[in-house]
Point group: D3
Chain length 138, copies 6
Amino acid sequence: MIRTSLTRAIEFPAGHRYERTDWTESENEARFGRCYRPPGHGHNYRVEVTVCGEPNPETGMIVDLGELDGILQREVVEPMDHAFLNELPEFAGGLIPTTENLSHVIWNRLEHRLPGNIVLVTVRVREDRNLWAECTKS
Amino acid sequence: MIRTSLTRAIEFPAGHRYERTDWTESENEARFGRCYRPPGHGHNYRVEVTVCGEPNPETGMIVDLGELDGILQREVVEPMDHAFLNELPEFAGGLIPTTENLSHVIWNRLEHRLPGNIVLVTVRVREDRNLWAECTKS
Amino acid sequence: MIRTSLTRAIEFPAGHRYERTDWTESENEARFGRCYRPPGHGHNYRVEVTVCGEPNPETGMIVDLGELDGILQREVVEPMDHAFLNELPEFAGGLIPTTENLSHVIWNRLEHRLPGNIVLVTVRVREDRNLWAECTKS
Amino acid sequence: MIRTSLTRAIEFPAGHRYERTDWTESENEARFGRCYRPPGHGHNYRVEVTVCGEPNPETGMIVDLGELDGILQREVVEPMDHAFLNELPEFAGGLIPTTENLSHVIWNRLEHRLPGNIVLVTVRVREDRNLWAECTKS
Amino acid sequence: MIRTSLTRAIEFPAGHRYERTDWTESENEARFGRCYRPPGHGHNYRVEVTVCGEPNPETGMIVDLGELDGILQREVVEPMDHAFLNELPEFAGGLIPTTENLSHVIWNRLEHRLPGNIVLVTVRVREDRNLWAECTKS
Amino acid sequence: MIRTSLTRAIEFPAGHRYERTDWTESENEARFGRCYRPPGHGHNYRVEVTVCGEPNPETGMIVDLGELDGILQREVVEPMDHAFLNELPEFAGGLIPTTENLSHVIWNRLEHRLPGNIVLVTVRVREDRNLWAECTKS
């Protein structure tokens, strides 16, 4: 059996900061280093979303790309582009906006909003050229 | 057990167009948007072919790269480079040359033409920086 | 004196073909090789437009990026994205849509449509990773 | 005469925000759009510094790369990496940290701190893949 | 179940040469081509190391990045950067330093030196833009 | 007046080492650091050659790309690909194969071998993503 997947990448800049308010300043500094520096910094995030399914025999497509782009725009780009990630609902309670956690947040935003005939396979979040996190269904 | 794979990437420009002749013009436009525009457009395709196998203890190689390159040249680059994909035998009957379908076409061209000691694992076709399809044996 | 410039890049796929109708088939083949193959192929073009001017002391910007983006969208992306370049008005008379000529065409489309306080410095057109042409005012 | 130049690239993430405190909220929004969103966002900046000079006949180098790297580290990376650019001394008075202005700030930090035998030619600051500013001596 | 992984990339230049001293010169040439040319050549290697584990609920991290970077620095960058790979202990006995073998060597150097809560998933070694090898636990 | 240029990029791996035999070991180490490590290392070099001229009105090309590619192949790729740069005639007398010197060597190899209607404008040699040298006629 051959599995077919399609991956769509989106990019946006955002800000973030690593800080636990229940830790002392020196604990935060020791653990988070420069990521603790107030008031924060940011990245050009790149998110690669992989879905799998059967190509529609009429169109040759796993998913209507316009529909997928609309979902990614509404669930990810619109709320996160030029935003400070710590202020998103998922992070506002103190969850640290690491690359790992951001990939989970995006997974959860997308998983149940995709068209019924496709399955979310991977959400990869690249913070920069040399660091990325991935959520995969195992 | 550690599995070892090797990936070779090739690139070539090609043309294509999305059109179903059994659909009206407005159906084609609604579904395929700018990809329906006659007489077509094109992309710099990038194809990444992954094979796995045991490194030969004498050469340290899974596959003779010259042999693999020859196969990729003959089965993929020679017929597809600067070609109009809709005119390939696989697409000439009306199959839409989407990224998904192109990855299947390349999979089928390669699967039984590789040396016996290696197995085709993945064919990834990148249409541009932000969209790619992948066939994988599951 | 320090000169400040700003460069904006845009990308779009398009199709093209090299053919002189006043040449024989074998002359076309000899001179244009695979670029002569009917009905054409295409590329993911990348266009980098450089303008220079004085940063506005209030905004720190040479040019309003929204305004520049609007001009690039209207003059370049809208007419060229998913188009067959040979059918653009500038190429319809038989001018070959080479990278060199495309950079001139884009230069001419932009030169007199930029805001008055900035000057067009360079139009660079990348056909692929390894080939690009540039128009510069000398 | 052949001129020889050498370019060194450095990368770091930083935060910034565009806001003029002497403007109303709606003026800021109209002019700066999402870049005005509090408390700010950020980018993975890439700075490319070009110097020219005569290659030393003994070493074949225009400049000792370790020395140049030390200067870039001290003047640019150390103060800007994971920082909020608006808080740098040059921007703290309200100068907007645009790509254009950041390239000037880096030019000024470097110009008189380079070894005597080389000349600063260009400072290019890339905010993302599709936007960059450049200062050049004209 | 969602599996979370983190990937860290490192880059370094190194030299290598393919030669079996138990083969004749013409056997070496026939099999290894230009990779046999004395005294050797080299590449800018890029190594991408993927680990998986549970994000720590306090820090949102699978692994302390400073700790992981220290391990990669000590086990990979320090001994391999600007080195001639054939002289590493693993290759000194005549094992050919192919991309496949190098990925195994790095896998073995890392596997038992990672913190206890994370698991090594993949070691990918890129020799250039168009060729890479990968070790994965299967 | 608009100047048109065309740039062609080529890539090849090569080896090199920095050493002055008239210096002591510790002088070499102090000045060249890891680049002095015997027996050498290497890089994936990328060379970008820019020429300018008038586009031929019949073909729309500054230069026949096949002819330019042949020259680059013969003068640069053939002798340098998988070679140890210190053994090239230009470096064999002890000239250090730095990026700066390599750009001069390539300039000299190309300058008088290009077709008569085009002019060599720039030779850029990239040693890696973050370091490159350029020769330009001034």
